[in-house]
């Protein structure tokens, strides 16, 4: 169904689509790598943790240490899985929401700002899970989580949430304006 007086979509800028597709590709590659290199990744993380016993609270007693290492390795694996899942989802969210912003928001400056926030936030947020996993061997569970949270999740997640609610408001405003016109 094309043409006529029916409302149509506008495509967001090319860089936005490239970032979104790159995020999806990275998620796919991450998922594949997680499965293919599971043993190597686990070995790397385990070696990193054993090299810093004081960070992880390892005491040199096998029964105690194995439990601590297992818990940290579960979180390490969870971080990789969550990256895979979020990067795929957020790639699609960027495409959908930036298309709405490009189509519905009449002001070019507002449209650009919201698209920039949606794209940066959507692509950046999942990287926090990779950062979390990568930092666990060096900094321990809690410190790695705090670093990922304040360096990545809070700024990029906030950008996405703020931009999404602004977009919701602007779409609702646009509906009201069209009804009045």
């Amino acid at each position: 169904m094309t043409g006529g007086d029916a409302p149509t979509w506008k495509v967001p800028p090319r860089w936005v689509l490239l970032v979104a597709v790159l995020s999806i590709v990275a998620a796919e590659v991450g998922g594949g790598a997680m499965a293919r290199y599971k043993v190597e990744l686990t070995r790397w993380a385990r070696a990193g943790m054993q090299a810093r016993p004081e960070v992880h609270g390892l005491v040199g007693v096998r029964d105690v240490d194995e439990r601590i290492l297992d818990e940290a390795l579960v979180k390490f694996d969870a971080g990789l899985r969550l990256f895979h899942m979020h990067a795929e989802g957020m790639g699609l969210v960027i495409i959908a929401t930036s298309m709405v912003a490009a189509t519905v928001i009449p002001s070019p400056a507002a449209s650009r700002a919201i698209i920039a926030l949606l794209t940066a936030g959507g692509a950046g947020y999942p990287v926090g899970y990779l950062v979390w996993s990568a930092l666990i061997p060096s900094y321990g569970l809690e410190r790695a989580k705090a670093l990922a949270e304040w360096l990545v999740w809070v700024p990029f997640g906030s950008a996405t949430i703020v931009a999404l609610w602004c977009l919701v408001g602007l779409v609702a405003w646009s509906m009201l304006a069209r009804r009045r016109a």
Binding site: T2, W9, V11, L17, L92, V93, V104, I161, L164, S174
Partner: protein, 185 residues
């Protein structure tokens, strides 16, 4: 689908034809679900202790619904199970809000672009929008577990909210599939 202005700097022509979009009301529901899903995810992470405290208080306020026996050991286990289930409801809401929001967006975009009959489009939009509200069932699931007890809360949310909205989503997607298949034939 068209770009904002062919030939302008930074624009990129994906397709030569224009592609119609669904009504803004449908787009708005999809966006609200995505925004709620995102916000719930952030709340789960940043407000975990507060959410757990609130859940524990609601369980304590409804002892009969949770079948408290007066035995501290048994009651603690029941309380923990109810709080875990309520948190699971919020987690499912986050997950489904994001996923179903996207499904509603892309499915309704397909309806707008590929279903020629106006009445058919209207019915499909209605079914898909109702299905798009499916994640709200998980919010009700979490709240009902705290207020009515675990089993009664799950039963209520599944029977009266999740099942009807889920069936609506399935019917909308099946209708879209049929409309696409019929158009091709």
């Amino acid at each position: 689908m068209t770009n904002a202005g062919p030939g302008t700097a930074g624009s990129f022509l994906i397709m030569s034809a224009t592609v119609t979009r669904p009504p803004l009301a449908v787009v708005l529901v999809a966006l609200v679900m995505l925004a709620l899903g995102e916000t719930a995810g952030a709340a789960m992470s940043r407000l975990k202790p507060e959410i757990q405290r609130y859940a524990a208080a609601r369980v304590a306020a409804n002892p009969a619904a949770h079948g408290f026996s007066g035995s501290a050991e048994y009651d603690d286990e029941v309380r923990e199970r109810a709080i875990f289930t309520a948190e699971a409801g919020l987690s499912f809401f986050h997950l489904h809000g994001e996923g179903v929001g996207l499904v509603l967006f892309f499915a309704s975009a397909l309806v707008a672009a590929r279903v020629p009959r106006r009445r058919t489009r209207g019915v499909l939009y209605l079914l898909l929008v109702a299905g798009g509200l499916f994640p709200l069932g998980y919010l009700a699931y979490g709240a009902a577990v705290l207020e009515l007890g675990r089993d009664a809360g799950i039963e209520l949310a599944e029977r009266w909210i999740l099942a009807p909205l889920g069936v609506s989503a399935i019917a909308g997607l099946a209708g879209l599939w049929l409309a696409l298949a019929r158009r091709r034939a």
